[in-house]
């Protein structure tokens, strides 16, 4: 232990005193800051790094920088991250976020894994996942030091590199695959959440926002002291061993969001359901085509007396915007200039969001929505790009076409991959006339494009579900090369759905759980009590973006709506929430457990009212606002990956 470290402690973390006090209550009453060095006994700052920053939103102005530290006390290593004061111009937001995100002494016994991200451009960052399944926001090391950070952790904690991902380091390594699955996929269990939230509420004191930087030491110290106390109880009461700090944050997020949404939804205190929820129930009992155009008026009729006309405007504004007819040729022409540029892509996307696209226009419009063509490109530029890309496609295709049978014998990976694709293409949408019959040329195109893609993106390869994505694209685009490049563009965003370590899916299912918690607390509590918080019953919805849930035409409509990324890149997650809310009474009323729920959700296929789901999702998205967005981890598909190409590296991949 170095003298400088000891000295360094005095300005913020005299948690050592807690060891002697042994009681949280006593600790909290001890407000003296001039702690003597004897109180630091056994505590040591083993790592400290300035300018470690979180990015709560995509806006650079809302980033929060702070100091990251590793503190060793006895045999325990703690991590703290204290944001700097007064760096943000938006003082109110900053203060709230500051309290929300501060890490006040979390012991590594509560950490499951650390994932390191080293993008080719931009800052290195780490994501710390707790054993509860919750994760801290990504910590960006503006001054570098990730390697040193991990090396320091490794000196004090049992740290092993994950077999599945070279950039993930497991703090509590599980040999048992069952436990590995559970730990990598499951969210906290019901008991944990309930007890943690109740104990967390004790800590949310109004004075939090008044604290000055120097006083953060108090938090950091008391957090550690509380842990020290808890550790002694651990054997008797495992439920107490919880990352209270992180749960405090979520409880704050939820509280904040509820305040916001309740302004719009107007809590009905008689039954605990908000107007919005009652509205959903109304709609679900009328799951018929008539409930489309006159919804606005219905809201007016059904709503309770609203005192504040401004609030009422918001309510009618956000809820149930009627769907419009699809975009047709004439209207489409108005979006283009003489040379074929889309002048106002935002308006175009908004227009498509509310009505979709007529089928005969899809071939042209999808190439923009998917990002194959740039909105500001001209007809001539697009034609040129297509010809360039066509020859590029043929070059890649030739890579596997030129593999002779003799070569294939010695190329197991290729044979296996090809076999897998062959098995899947013959069972993808074969009931459609486009794909039916023996020797159907479109089935062959599916095969060729998928196999070419698995060479284009060899690291990701082929994965079940990809043929579901390609099928409507091929159906719409017709042309082999254009279908391929549109599929490539889609996979740029959704490829992480197929990551072997399931990170892409994990992010999205996690975000759904946070959104349900935000937008339907009773349902969240229900799932929590019934051990359903992993949201695996939504797996198919998310993995292939509802492809199996709707008729083909509806899928195409939904996808073009989602691809507008209006009003959110993650609208599909709000659609999940919207559908769950629609059936919430049935789910809770029938006391569905996980198995029953999965069966129920699978059997909803073909029975979901798409227009209503999109309307509900839009409203939920608008109501959740920034808080909704803050619950979706950065880089969650279909956001473009934060990383460079290394995102796709699949360690120990068999196929």
């Amino acid at each position: 232990m170095l003298e400088t470290d000891l000295h360094d402690l005095s300005d913020d973390a005299d948690y050592a005193a807690s060891q002697q006090q042994g009681s949280t209550t006593m600790m909290r009453t001890d407000s003296g800051r001039g702690s003597s060095s004897s109180e630091h006994e056994g505590a040591e700052v083993v790592y400290s790094k300035e300018n470690v920053t979180i990015h709560p939103t995509q806006f650079a102005s809302e980033r929060i920088s702070g100091r990251l530290r590793l503190i060793k006390q006895g045999s325990c290593l703690f991590i703290t991250w204290i944001p700097y004061k007064g760096q943000n111009s938006n003082a109110k937001l900053s203060e709230r976020d500051r309290n929300l995100y501060t890490i006040r002494g979390v012991p590594f016994t509560e950490v499951r894994s650390i994932r390191r991200h080293t993008p080719a451009f931009g800052w290195q960052y780490v994501i710390i996942v707790l054993s509860s399944g919750l994760a801290f926001p990504s910590l960006y090391f503006y001054n570098g030091g990730v390697r040193e950070f991990l090396a320091t952790v490794k000196q004090h904690v049992f740290l092993v590199r994950s077999e599945e991902d070279a950039n993930t380091f497991l703090v509590n390594d599980f040999q048992n695959p069952l436990q590995r699955t559970l730990s990598s996929l499951e969210l906290p269990r019901s008991g944990s959440i309930a007890s943690a939230v109740s104990s967390a509420s004790v800590d949310v004191s109004p004075s939090n926002s008044e604290r000055r930087a120097g006083e953060d030491s108090h938090d950091e110290r008391s957090r550690i002291s509380r842990y020290g106390g808890k550790q002694r109880h651990k054997a008797q009461d495992p439920a107490r061993d919880l990352p209270i700090q992180i749960l405090e944050k979520f409880s704050l997020v939820t509280k904040f969001a509820r305040e916001t949404t309740s302004q719009l939804f107007r809590e009905n205190h008689n039954n605990g359901f908000s107007v919005a929820e009652m509205r959903i129930q109304n709609q679900s009992s009328l799951d018929s085509p008539q409930t489309s155009s006159n919804d606005l008026e219905k809201v007016t009729d059904d709503s309770p007396v609203v005192q504040d006309p401004i609030q009422f405007d918001k309510l009618t504004l956000v809820w149930g915007k009627p769907r419009q007819p699809p975009l047709g040729s004439e209207e489409w022409a108005t979006f283009l200039d003489a040379e074929g540029r889309v002048l106002d892509s935002t308006s175009l996307r908004k227009r498509i969001f509310y009505g979709g696209v007529e089928h005969n226009l899809r071939k042209e419009v999808w190439a923009f929505l998917l990002g194959f063509h740039a909105y500001n490109s001209t007809y001539a530029e697009r034609e040129y790009l297509q010809s360039i890309k066509r020859s590029e496609y043929l070059t890649i295709k030739n890579q596997w076409q030129s593999i002779s049978p003799e070569q294939a014998k010695r190329f197991t990976k290729f044979k296996e991959r090809k076999g897998l694709i062959e098995k899947d293409v013959v069972r993808t949408d074969r009931s459609l006339s486009f794909f039916d019959g023996d020797e159907n040329p479109n089935v062959k195109l599916l095969h060729d494009i998928l196999l070419t893609y698995s060479f284009y993106n060899f690291d990701l390869g082929y994965c079940q579900g990809m043929s579901d994505f390609l099928s409507p694209i091929l159906f719409v685009m017709g042309d082999e090369s254009e279908s391929f490049w549109c599929f490539v563009a889609l996979m740029e965003r959704l490829g992480p759905n197929f990551n072997r370590d399931q990170t892409g899916m994990h992010c999205q299912l996690f975000a759904i759980s946070k959104l349900v918690e935000l937008l339907d607390t009773p349902l969240h509590n229900y799932f929590s009590q019934h051990d359903c918080l992993n949201y695996f019953f939504c797996f198919r919805w998310v993995l292939i973006q509802f492809k199996r849930e709707f008729a083909y035409e509806k899928v195409m409509h939904l996808w073009e709506v989602l691809w507008t990324h209006y009003p959110s890149e993650h609208l599909h997650l709000y659609i999940c929430v919207a559908v769950l809310k629609r059936y919430r009474n049935k789910i809770m009323g029938e006391q569905m457990d996980f198995d029953t729920l999965l069966k129920f959700i699978n059997e909803l296929s073909g029975h979901i009212d798409l227009d209503a789901a999109i309307r509900d999702a839009e409203a939920l998205c608008v109501c959740a606002g920034e808080n909704g967005a803050a619950n979706i981890p950065p880089g969650t598909p279909p956001s473009l990956p934060l990383d460079d190409g290394s995102y796709y590296i699949q360690q120990d991949e068999v196929l």
Binding site: L178, D424, T428, F539, L598
Partner: protein, 199 residues
């Protein structure tokens, strides 16, 4: 339909096996008595239930059907934990799928519930001309590892019991399912293990 007996038993089953071995087809034959030539791939997992009436008891099979691709392997433990029985399916026309089945057996032996009943199903037995896995080899392997073994065909519904016995069981499951059920019952009686919940 199950009759109301004085015993109700729940049995959780999980189907595991290589891509395209016929897991979903096998379970759909059992649950719905139908076969689809181009059964779509399973995404995530599917859950089915089917109730059988046997003597004075009704047995409700709760069946988890899983995705076959290796990429989704990490999800499997979530489905096989707590299962009373696992049916490991391979395709008799595909040696690779038999190798994969052996890997599943190993994993379940190492990680699963020790009281789990395991069954090995060599599916697509109607495709005799394309056979790559000899029935004897699979039978030997099954015996060595204490598995039920049977070749099945979800397509032709081969291995259906004759009609008298079908009537006895009230519906028409393949041998496979009834034998599996008998195995479960035998274990239950012999060991009073936890996995068959009686109420």
């Amino acid at each position: 339909m199950a009759t109301s007996g004085n015993k109700n038993i729940n049995a959780k089953l999980v189907l595991l096996g290589d891509v395209g071995a016929g897991k979903s087809s096998l379970v759909l034959r059992f649950v719905k008595g139908q076969f689809v030539e181009f059964q779509e791939s399973t995404i995530g997992a599917a859950f089915f239930s089917q109730t059988l009436a046997v003597n004075d008891a009704t047995v409700k099979f709760e069946i988890w059907d899983t995705a076959g691709q290796e990429r989704y392997h990490s999800l499997a433990p979530m489905y096989y934990r707590g299962a009373a029985a696992a049916i490991i399916v391979y395709d008799i026309t595909n040696q690779g799928s038999f190798d994969r089945a052996k890997k599943w057996v190993q994993e379940l032996q190492a990680q699963g519930n020790p009281n789990m009943v395991m069954a090995l199903a060599g599916n697509k037995s109607d495709l005799l001309d394309s056979r790559k896995v000899a029935a004897e080899d699979a039978q030997t392997y099954a015996q060595e590892n204490g598995l039920f073994f049977m070749e099945t065909s979800a397509k032709s519904a081969a291995n259906q019991r004759d009609c008298r016995e079908c009537n006895q069981y009230r519906i028409q499951p393949g041998w496979f399912w009834t034998d599996l059920l008998k195995g479960l019952q035998a274990r239950h009686v012999a060991r009073r293990t936890w996995f068959l919940v009686q109420f």
